[in-house]
């Protein structure tokens, strides 16, 4: 297991390098001048040249990348052009809300998707199945900022069940505050998981081992939960893992609506201010989050699936 993780982490190195290069180039291609953004309306050519020199923007782009890599290795992510502070400090502070939001919405997705998937799979082709599928598709297609706001109107404004937006100071308050944003994200992801589960559970229920389980005289519930679901959950989790990128992207929007001080909000605002070091690190962090989540889901898969366990780790 350990060697497997080590191997996966080693494989991440070229990927991480690729990410840094892509991020670096991408950010440099954004039109607009950070010097001007920093100085605002008071920009004069002299002031701007000074700022550029201070930021190292006057060097060749290759050199800039090498310098960037060198400082990355040293754990130095640069100083935010906008806030004038170490980016690392700024970005790391924003990771927590985003990670919490991600985890939270993953849990909510599963809480929604698993029963719905079970219902749809066991009722396949019947009324409940059709209704669930239409609802799921609707959840998939609607923009999350809009559903988020509708949820606020419904659950916060009309029924006063949740705070409207914000993050909160204590963990309790945060979990309470983040419920709606997490739900909003989950509404986009749960349908994907539900559909995957519906298919895989449908398949699992038709598999030979289900007959074996029933032939043992197990009650229907035990057959469903401890046999069919155990197997069917794996592809569903795989789909969840594959769509983490989508979920992560979604947080960008949702954080904006719900005023969650996370990476997504930071990303949008630093694109606005051409805060290169910040954009670089945010995107890098997003990349790392996604890669790590892939790793985690793969590990989860391995833990849950003895078939992969051996072939992958061997």
């Amino acid at each position: 297991m350990l060697t497997y993780i080590v191997r996966r982490l080693l494989l991440m190195i070229p990927v991480a390098l690729g990410i840094t290069l892509a991020v670096f180039l991408l950010v440099r291609l954004i039109p607009g001048d950070p010097a001007r953004a920093i100085l605002g309306i008071h920009a004069t050519p002299v002031l701007m040249a000074a700022v550029r020199a201070r930021l190292g923007l006057d060097r060749g782009i290759g050199m800039q990348y090498l310098l960037y890599l060198r400082s990355l290795v040293q754990g130095d992510f640069g100083i935010s052009y906008y806030y004038g502070q170490p980016v690392a400090q700024l970005v790391l502070g924003r990771m927590v809300p985003t990670l919490v939001l991600l985890l939270y919405s993953t849990i909510i997705s599963l809480v929604i998707a698993i029963p719905a998937g079970i219902l749809a799979a066991t009722q396949q082709g019947r009324g409940a199945d059709h209704v669930l599928r239409v609802v799921a598709t609707a959840g998939l297609g609607l923009p999350s900022y809009w559903t988020g706001f509708i949820l606020i109107l419904l659950l916060s404004v009309t029924f006063h069940l949740f705070p409207i937006a914000g993050y909160g100071n204590t963990w309790g308050a945060r979990l309470y505050n983040l419920f709606l944003p997490a739900l909003t994200c989950a509404l986009n992801v749960a349908p994907l998981v539900m559909r995957a589960l519906r298919t895989s559970l449908g398949e699992a229920l038709g598999a030979g081992f289900i007959d074996t389980a029933r032939a043992k005289g197990l009650p229907a519930r035990a057959v469903l939960l401890s046999h069919a679901l155990r197997v069917a959950i794996l592809p569903a989790l795989h789909v969840l893992g594959l769509n983490i990128g989508f979920l992560v992207g979604n947080t960008v929007l949702v954080e904006n609506v719900f005023a969650v001080p996370g990476l997504g909000q930071l990303m949008i605002s630093s694109i606005g201010t051409r805060d290169y070091p910040t954009i670089q690190m945010v995107t890098l962090m997003f990349g790392i989050i996604v890669v790590l989540i892939y790793l985690i889901t793969d590990l989860g898969q391995i833990m849950l699936d003895p078939r992969v366990r051996r072939s992958e780790i061997g």
Partner: protein
């Protein structure tokens, strides 16, 4: 045709309906989707304005109908390039394996590491807002899924006896790829494309909201929703109807996808 699964027939029918709306709807409607009438702003739905009007007095109905064109276009232009690039890469990587495979899969790994949405936002920020740049951004990152799907399928199909048979019969690689492998792997990608299209419409409307996607006054559902967003409680019809349209299109597409998947199963399975 008579053996087509019900989902497929339904999905195709609905999609055909959408295409008809997109093609003929604007011809049948007298109104201009961008013409403002400041005297009639924020009218609730009525006979004259079936879906009401927005704050600039434009008929939401007219805009939604015209928007069908834009949104079908988004679905098409986002999906097709990603599909073509992705399946080609997947095909080549999966079939030839070795170095080609290793290189393209590392590329895929990198592209996958960027959350799709984040990457699209970043790229659009680089290229400038607008649908055209959104298409470019989606193509730049969206091919990855197709490449993965196709490659995974190929690795299976490549081993199939009928491909081995084709080799034995002395067919060249191109022929085997085009006639024996492609038709059998493309389907999974096509099924995925239907759900990808839903995702792209979602993306389009979100980018519209961030001001990076379609630009006013272009009638586009996501943009109409965004326009109506600030009026949700006052004039819910502005964002409600295009929202409904998105849901309906999404349902049509997913029926089509499910139908395609159903249609292909019995053929592959053991009859």
């Amino acid at each position: 045709m008579k053996h087509w699964p019900r989902n497929l027939k339904l999905g195709l029918g609905l999609m055909m309906g959408w295409v008809l709306v997109a093609v003929f709807g604007p011809m049948l409607l007298p109104g201009d989707p961008t013409a403002m009438d400041l005297m009639h702003s924020l009218h609730p739905p009525s006979l004259a304005f079936p879906f009401g009007t927005d704050n600039l007095g434009r008929g939401v109905f007219t805009r939604v109908i015209y928007g069908t064109r834009t949104d079908l276009q988004i679905a098409l232009f986002c999906v097709v390039p990603a599909f073509v690039i992705g399946t080609t890469v997947g095909l080549v990587a999966g079939y030839f394996g070795k170095l080609t495979d290793a290189i393209s899969m590392r590329l895929v790994d990198i592209a996958v590491a960027f959350p799709f949405f984040v990457a699209v936002i970043a790229i659009v920020a680089v290229l400038g807002p607008g649908l055209k740049n959104m298409y470019i951004a989606v193509a730049a990152v969206g091919w990855v899924s197709y490449a993965r799907i196709t490659r995974a399928e190929i690795l299976v199909v490549k081993q199939a006896d009928y491909v081995q048979a084709a080799r034995l019969l002395g067919f060249g690689n191109t022929r085997i790829l085009a006639h024996h492998i492609l038709p059998n792997v493309i389907v999974q990608a096509a099924v995925y494309a239907t759900s990808d299209a839903v995702l792209d419409i979602f993306l389009g409307s979100s980018l519209g909201w961030l001001g990076l996607g379609a630009q006013p006054p272009l009638p586009e559902w996501g943009l109409i929703i965004a326009d109506g967003y600030s009026f949700v409680s006052q004039a819910p019809w502005i964002s409600g109807f295009p929202g409904l349209a998105i849901v309906l299109l999404a349902v049509s597409l997913s029926l089509l996808g499910d139908g395609l998947a159903d249609a292909l199963r019995p053929e592959l399975g053991r009859a």
